[in-house]
Amino acid sequence: MLSRTADHLFWMARYMERAESLARLLDVTWQMSLVPQSIEAANQSWKAIIVLNSLEEAFGARYQEVTAENVLRFMVCDADNHSSISSCLRMCRENAHAVRGTITSEMWETLNSTWIEARDQSFDKIFASGVGEFFEWVKLRSHLSRGVTVGTLLQDEAYHFIRLGTLLERADNTARILDVKYHVLRPQGHEETTDFYQWGALLRSVSAFENYRKVYRDVITPERVAELLILHRDLPRSLHFCLNGVVKNLEMVANRHSGETLRQAGILHARLHYARVGDILEQGLHNWLTDFMDSIYQIGDGISRDFLVPSQDSN
């Protein structure tokens, strides 16, 4: 497969996953903001979204105040914000367009019509009808694009690069959601918050609420939430699950240059496989997650170097 083709497939998948994760993050923030709380606390959680995406400067240049509406407007539809949901869907579609001969026509039609529908949305309408409906739509389109990929695409190299894009992006996003919400919910790190509603919203944001019940059959505690999202092998949005897939798909596409990247992914996978949640929390969840996101970045960089944009002399 052409390196450029693999690059487009990888990013096509990343952007779709990013749009979905963003919808999930905004959705949970919105839901959490509906419970009675101080304005300061509410704005704090909206601000966290901007900080999380390193968009303080871009946001500040366009909006005066951090309010729910401003952050939503900026992150949902703002075409000038390259990290907005609508920008992600556009980039997804553009990458797909560049390889529309490699993906199946059903995949292309799904991604193209997603973009066409997104393009025709206006924020005021979305906001008026309750943002939740829009976030549901984004998730649905993401489910659809994953489904059409699994259901129609030959499971060859193209499929593996798409999976790599999806899983790397998802690992990064689950880590981010956990990082930002865990600390909002448990500011001092020792004082137990038993706000069932809030923890439930966090779990729901990664489709893990019902799974939590199945796995623990017990009340929700912060430790278990962290354990589930980080270490559970079979939860589709957990870090462990993602790294499983990253290693597996990397092995499927391995070439002469990719040994080091595979080694790094293997190490990270092993760390998740053999970790205990108590140790992670003792080390400090924030530090641990920061390290993790760093490693994910390194692996993405390695994939890019080994497969997607190789320099000429490496051939």
Partner: protein, 469 residues
């Protein structure tokens, strides 16, 4: 002016090959047709069968309107049209091979030497280069029209990077999806094997000694107006769609960069103009091409389809000599008509053209896509005067032809069904032999009275049915 109508004869009776269709149209409720037309629009949009329009907002894509009334060609008519097209393309390939080698046709005095050698499309770098099977124009999209009492005329031989074949295939797919019952009434010759035929032709012209050639389609990229077609053909042939940056040349061999290292490329179906192919040889500012490609090509290590330098044969100033080429190389009489052409570089022709501008069609010698032309009868005094000045300033840049009474065919337009003018672009493939699929792209001018069918000028398309028999 009287026009030949594809569906009805001069007395208004339905022609034999349209009788069934016309009966079907009568009994089919208009709501159903309207619904099907809307369905077609939606499907074309969702599939993204669009083209980019130059000069409009960057990246903007438009649909080419699709008309559901097919253009039907009886078997007998197609047979003679096909024979004429094959003859023509054969002669054009002979001509290209000749002028880049021994130039016998020039020495025989059949074509003025300066017309060929002084032509901007003549590529001196191709002098003496041998290409596999002596084929230069592997893919030709010859524009033909019907005029007068129904005889076919060749309007243009497109031998560089003719496009439109994907619409031919998609239009057929769409018709079969919308109105399958029509295909039970008519035995329509299939066209869907075009990509296989193309791949077979491309593989046949691989460099010597390559037994299992790697074929690729080279595109300028996603913003090119014909990008949809590039992806479509690559996908249908099952070959890689590459951009210039995916390829590199090392020791006169062309390679592509893949996730598994480098891979040799043998045949390039390029959809990039000559000028942009190789920044080292042609336009140095081209970011679309592959540095060193020309060198690899001249060394015989890669085949380009079409070859470099085919533009000299489809140039409008060479066009009048095609019948002469057929006689010279094949020893046959041309079976397809050429349109009488006035060469404005000749004083007598120029005088005639200037005196008859309101009746003539004036075209730029190097123009394409319906840009920069004057259709005398449909133009205002002001436009005619503007062209008069252009002609006087640079007569050798233009040719003129009588305005052909292009045939028309009933077409869905806003006010209902009305006749609109059309042309036909069949695709002629040359490799070890010359082959065609029965049909082509029918383009239709949707504006009332307009004779310009180009999609960039608001033209639409119709499915083209060649009947079996």
């Amino acid at each position: 002016m009287d026009f030949y109508n594809e569906m009805t004869d001069a007395r208004g009776a339905i022609r034999n090959h349209y009788v069934q269709y016309s009966r079907w149209l009568e009994v089919t409720p208009m709501e159903r047709i309207a619904r099907k037309r809307a369905e077609a629009d939606l499907a074309f949009h969702r599939v993204g069968i669009t083209f980019a329009v130059y000069g409009e907002e960057a990246g903007k894509e438009r649909l080419i309107p699709f008309d559901i009334i097919p253009r039907i060609i009886p078997a007998e008519e197609w047979r003679s049209l096909e024979a004429g097209l094959r003859q023509r393309v054969k002669a054009l390939n002979c001509f290209l091979n000749d002028i880049y080698h021994d130039r016998e046709i020039l020495r025989a005095g059949k074509i003025p030497e300066e017309q060929v050698l002084g032509n901007a499309q003549f590529r001196p770098v191709m002098q003496g280069v041998d290409v596999p099977e002596g084929i230069y124009a592997h893919i030709a999209g010859v524009d033909v029209v019907r005029a007068g009492a129904g005889e076919f005329y060749v309007l243009e031989d497109n031998l560089r990077v003719p496009s439109g074949v994907s619409y031919m295939l998609e239009d057929r797919k769409m018709m079969m999806r919308l109105f399958p019952e029509l295909f039970a009434k008519y035995k329509v010759a299939p066209v869907q094997h075009y990509p296989d035929m193309l791949l077979e032709k491309l593989r046949a012209v691989a460099p010597k000694g390559v037994s299992n050639p790697t074929v690729v389609v080279l595109t300028p990229g996603a913003y090119n107006s014909a990008y949809f077609e590039h992806t479509f053909l690559a996908q249908q042939m099952g070959v890689e769609l590459v951009e210039g940056r995916d390829l590199f040349v090392s020791k006169d061999q062309v390679y592509m960069r893949t996730t598994q290292g480098t891979h040799r490329v043998d045949v390039i179906y390029r959809r990039i103009d000559d000028d942009f192919l190789d920044p080292l040889a042609f336009r140095p500012d081209s970011a679309l091409g592959v540095p060193g490609l020309l060198q690899a090509y001249r060394a015989g290590n890669v085949t380009l389809a079409n070859a470099i330098g085919t533009g000299v044969a489809d140039d409008k100033s060479i066009y009048p000599y095609v019948p002469e080429m057929i006689r010279f190389y094949l020893g046959e009489e041309p079976t397809l008509n050429n349109v009488p052409t006035y060469m404005c570089r000749k004083k007598t022709d120029l005088d005639y053209v200037l005196a008859h501008l309101p009746e003539l069609v004036v075209k730029e010698v190097h123009g394409a896509g319906g840009y920069g032309m004057l259709v005398g009868p449909a133009s205002t005094k002001k436009e005619i005067e503007r062209f008069r000045k252009l002609l006087e300033a640079r007569p050798d840049g233009y040719i003129a032809q009588p305005t052909l009474a292009l045939s028309n065919c009933p077409t869905f337009v806003e006010e209902g069904i009305a006749p609109r003018h059309l042309d036909l672009r069949p695709f002629v493939l040359s490799g070890r032999d010359v082959e065609m699929v029965p049909g082509g792209l029918t383009r239709v001018a949707l504006t009332k009275g307009s004779l310009v069918v180009n999609s960039s000028q608001g033209g639409g398309t119709k499915d083209t049915w060649v009947l079996e028999g």
